[in-house]
Assembly symmetry: C2
Homo-oligomer: 358 residues x 2
């Protein structure tokens, strides 16, 4: 069962919720924009479905809705930002602004963030750089759900990497990927529909490959991109590790198994090695390498040539970002479908704050 | 059949070969160091086994052994370098030096390179940054061998990404990976030993998964990390694409299917979109983010904790770089085994230049 909402309905409800949590009007609008952009782009797991999670973390005192976000260390091309326990949805855009400001000064800007929370979809932050003719890069570490190659234990989050690259007449190239075979959101869809997972997505509590879509809850783990050693899972593990180190060891956040859980009912790890979650944001001015028009003309040619790649029967070759753009065009017009569990969670939040979802 | 050579024997022969090709003493030593480091670290496909390939490219006039390597565009944190058709083995170290010099000035340095050739193992270049308490990053595009998700055509190279991160008492974290399920070198081993490839490594000329280790030569293609769409090959494709764009569209090199072939018997593509191959080198000073000793202490803790991960039965969890270090320790002592085809190729080169491999 799904109910269709307009973008505007979800924006209004979400903004009012963040205001009720004590956010400023500006921050509430920003956090709303990050969440609803995710729903618009079809990444349902990271959109308003997460709003109740943020509310619970705030109730548990783990999110500060009036943070003093500040630079604690910097050079002309780098900064470390303390998010002061703020919403990642607000902290990360601020950190990306700093990266872009540095890029406008010295060509590139790189900001590592500590003491933050989940920042929504990584792709959102990278697209801000594209608006300024910059390449945007965003990474974050996250709650440990992933077993490294040969491991039983969950040591890393799904640690996404996003890279957005401007083009000229073509839409931008936007890669936004968890460093696991499949994102947790895809597993949730299989769980809801009672389907099996392909081998290579998850392992059972003993470390064996399994098709059981519920294995994660039974003590299993998500698998790094590659799935197993023979298919290169050590590469997915290395990518997830790099995201963890750039996001958390650079900044002084919690890394690896110490990364704080997203769900408020799980306790924070003992003996933290840092503060909160970490992010890593980068911006590279394209004209720091080559005149912008020249670069964009070649990106147009790159994209056009890859679109024209001879496909296997019945398929076509896509450019990263194409699927999300297609869904966005539809949902902006026809509305955003939410499943009944999400709607009922949102109504519960609405009752708490006396806001009506309509 | 294998013959064991000492590191010194291979260094002497390789240096003499590069000198015979017209390299300066300094460049010959540098190019030799890149190649022999690869053999020492166990990446046999990228070591002296490639020497004959470089000789043939030089004979075909595609490599200039006295290049005028120069910066053609720069900002405080970026540069574009023209490699003047030089050996990538010489051009890339020079570009990494520029990146490190910029990092020492403004925190980070990022250099995109055009008009170059294959640069050996990406990891070599990143380790130069580690020596200066910097994180090193290296990427390169390469001859098209890889089919994007849903493609029949070979559009990308194995486009490796390497990231090396300094630690304190622990050895550095060194990830060095092709963005394909398996590197071409691993396929060559299967071909030599007459074994089948696991499904997910290659596809046949019609775009179907195959176990035939010779499928690439029959018109098939290597597959992006992930292997197929269900297992995330669109992520491997996106990573390979990012490497291609950073290395070649940033710099003005040839990208995608226009990347020049490594083998001299294949013609250069018609209507090139740039000059030569492209690389992308980056250096980030760790103290541009956090005091170096503090960062290294946390890297030691990161590495120690990940080594202690509870493993599946009979295995242990490794840190990226461990396998190469283990082989290096053995080969530095016991010598480097070369297979008979490689030895006979090298002897042929030796006859050409009147150098004895002993």
């Amino acid at each position: 069962m799904e109910t269709i909402f307009t973008e505007e309905q979800l924006r209004t409800f979400t903004r009012q919720t963040f205001l009720s949590m004590g956010c400023t009007e500006k921050d509430a609008r920003l956090a709303t924009d990050v969440l609803v952009s995710s729903d618009l782009r079809g990444i349902d797991s990271h959109g308003v479905a997460r709003l109740t999670g943020y509310v619970r973390l705030w109730e548990a005192g783990r999110i500060n809705t009036t943070p003093n976000i500040k630079i604690i260390h910097e050079t002309p091309s780098t900064a470390v930002v303390d998010g002061d326990k703020g919403l990642g949805l607000v902290v990360a855009p601020k950190a990306m602004e700093i990266a872009m400001e540095k890029a406008s000064q010295v060509g590139t800007g790189w900001v590592s963030v500590k003491n933050s929370n989940h920042f929504g979809i990584a792709g959102y932050h990278t697209l801000k750089a594209v608006e300024q003719d910059m390449i945007g890069i965003a990474m974050t570490n996250a709650s440990p759900l992933v077993a490294p190659t040969f491991a039983m234990e969950k040591m890393l989050g799904t640690n996404p990497i996003a890279v957005a690259i401007p083009a000229g007449s073509q839409p931008p190239f936007v890669a936004d990927m968890a460093t696991t075979t499949a994102a947790n959101g895809k597993l949730e869809i299989l769980q809801r529909t009672g389907k099996e997972a392909p081998l290579g997505w998850i392992q059972d509590p003993d470390g064996f490959a399994t098709k059981d879509a519920h294995a994660l809850k039974k003590g299993g783990a998500l698998l790094p991109l590659g799935g197993d050693r023979e298919h290169g899972s050590h590469k997915g593990y290395a990518l997830g590790a790099i995201v963890d180190i750039f996001s958390a060891v650079f900044s002084g956040a919690n890394y690896g198994p110490w990364a704080p859980p997203f769900v408020s009912f799980l306790p924070l790890p003992d003996n933290p090695v840092g503060e909160g979650l970490g992010h890593f944001l980068g911006a590279m001015r394209i004209d720091a390498f080559r005149p912008a028009e020249e670069f964009k003309a070649h990106m147009d040619q790159w994209i056009t040539r890859f679109r024209e790649t001879q496909p296997v029967a019945g398929k076509k070759v896509l450019i990263p970002g194409d699927p999300e753009r297609e869904i966005e065009a539809i949902r902006a017009k026809e509305g955003i479908p939410l499943n009944e569990n999400v709607v009922s969670d949102l109504r519960e939040v609405g009752e708490k704050f006396d806001i009506v979802l309509s």
